[in-house]
């Protein structure tokens, strides 16, 4: 299939059940009839879905979630200071 805009070659992708043609040249996207509605419906489901179980407070350290920078494993001085804290009032 040729791109209706620039006559480039259209490549077909399948994403979450939605059929998408994208032009290799201008990167324009062509949707089949009904697919825009499918995407809109999926978007509204995504927005209304309950948030995942919160893993911490809104003000938590930014390193939460990915690899954790803190904790026991980074340097002796840091480790000793935190260990003292773990055991004191």
């Amino acid at each position: 299939m040729q791109c209706p805009k620039c006559r480039g070659n259209m490549r077909t992708y399948e994403r979450n059940g939605v059929h998408i043609e994208q032009c290799d040249n201008c990167r324009g996207i062509f949707l089949d009839y009904g697919e825009l509605e499918t995407i809109t419906r999926m978007e509204s489901q995504y927005r209304s879905a309950p948030p995942p179980a919160p893993g911490g407070p809104a003000w938590g350290a930014p390193s939460h979630g990915g690899h954790h920078g803190g904790g026991y494993h980074h340097g002796h001085k840091r480790k000793d200071s935190f260990l003292g804290m773990l055991f004191s009032s």
Binding site: A53, P54, G55, G56, P57, A58, W59, G60, A61, P62, S63, H64, G65, H68, G69, G70, G71, Y72, H73, K77, R78, S81, F82, L83, M85, L86, F87, S88, S89
Partner: protein, 276 residues
């Protein structure tokens, strides 16, 4: 005195940052409480620790009466093994707290209020300086939203890893802040370490998961941070204040770990109004 309760061998004085004195002699530990601890309030706390309902949860005293030595309240305990930080029993600590919180209050009544909130306020008050760090910590503490009223439960009041000893099993120790309160405060110190990026997420998850799996009544299992958030902010301010006081006493700057708590205070103060 430890010898009167069967303690043998050379006395071993445990180091303490406060005016509390803990002496171990063989199998017996004698604790001289802080001059701040009211002996009238210690009596029901000590009785509760010796009550059958807390057997297997808290270490039971060797004597259920508060003694007085040179004007200081003194209690006597069996010795136990302390926590090795490399193999810290986080899950067991969480389970013990869950069981403590589930003890029906009439069994131990009357009990004084748990000491957690007063301890936080005291720590913030103890800061002598008025620099930007002190001001930030005071602002964090003063800006805490009013807690939602909750039914009071039996609460430890000052929980950390130093509050566990092992005999045949792990048990909670330290009655000084035991009482009726919001049990979330017992979870708020580890939560504050986690929120400051100090306690690693898998460790926090083990602790929180064990508490929830044990049916701990302090939290909503579907949204644990709903109840944790505000007491964790209070503990963050408390820990930061203690760090500032300790650093001033030692004549040094705050270290990297202590700075993480100040940064957490900064993020709390920067929250949009109206949260949580």
């Amino acid at each position: 005195m430890a010898a009167d309760y069967g303690g043998t061998g050379a006395p071993d004085v445990h180091p303490s940052r406060t005016d509390v004195v803990v002496v171990r002699r063989g199998e017996v530990v004698v604790k001289a409480h802080s001059v701040r601890d009211d002996p009238v309030l210690l009596a029901p706390r000590l009785r509760a620790a010796g009550a059958a309902a807390l057997s297997g949860i808290m270490l039971a005293p060797l004597d259920t009466e508060v003694l007085t030595v040179a004007g200081r309240a003194v209690t006597v305990w069996p010795a136990g093994q302390t926590v090795d930080p490399d193999t810290a029993p986080w899950e067991e600590g969480a389970r013990l707290l869950a069981r403590l919180h589930a003890v029906p209050l009439p069994v131990v009544s009357p009990m004084p209020a748990a000491g957690g909130p007063a301890r936080a306020a005291r720590a913030v008050r103890r800061m002598a300086g008025d620099g930007p760090v002190e001001q930030l910590i005071r602002m964090t503490f003063a800006g805490l939203p009013e807690p939602e009223p909750t039914p009071g439960l039996l609460t430890h009041g000052d929980w950390h890893l130093g509050q566990l000893v092992r005999r045949e099993r792990w048990l909670l120790i330290d009655i000084d802040d035991l009482g009726v309160g919001d049990p979330v405060w017992d979870l708020a110190r580890p939560a504050a370490w986690y929120a400051a990026g100090l306690l690693e997420a898998p460790t926090w998850d083990r602790f929180l998961g064990a508490y929830l799996a044990s049916g701990g009544p302090a939290l909503d299992p579907d949204d644990p941070w709903a109840r944790l958030d505000v007491p964790t902010r209070a503990l963050t301010a408390q820990l930061a204040a203690v760090a500032v006081v300790n650093a001033a006493r030692d004549g040094r700057e705050l270290d990297e770990v202590e700075h993480s708590l100040i940064e957490a205070c900064d993020r709390i103060v920067g929250l949009p109004q109206g949260l949580p």
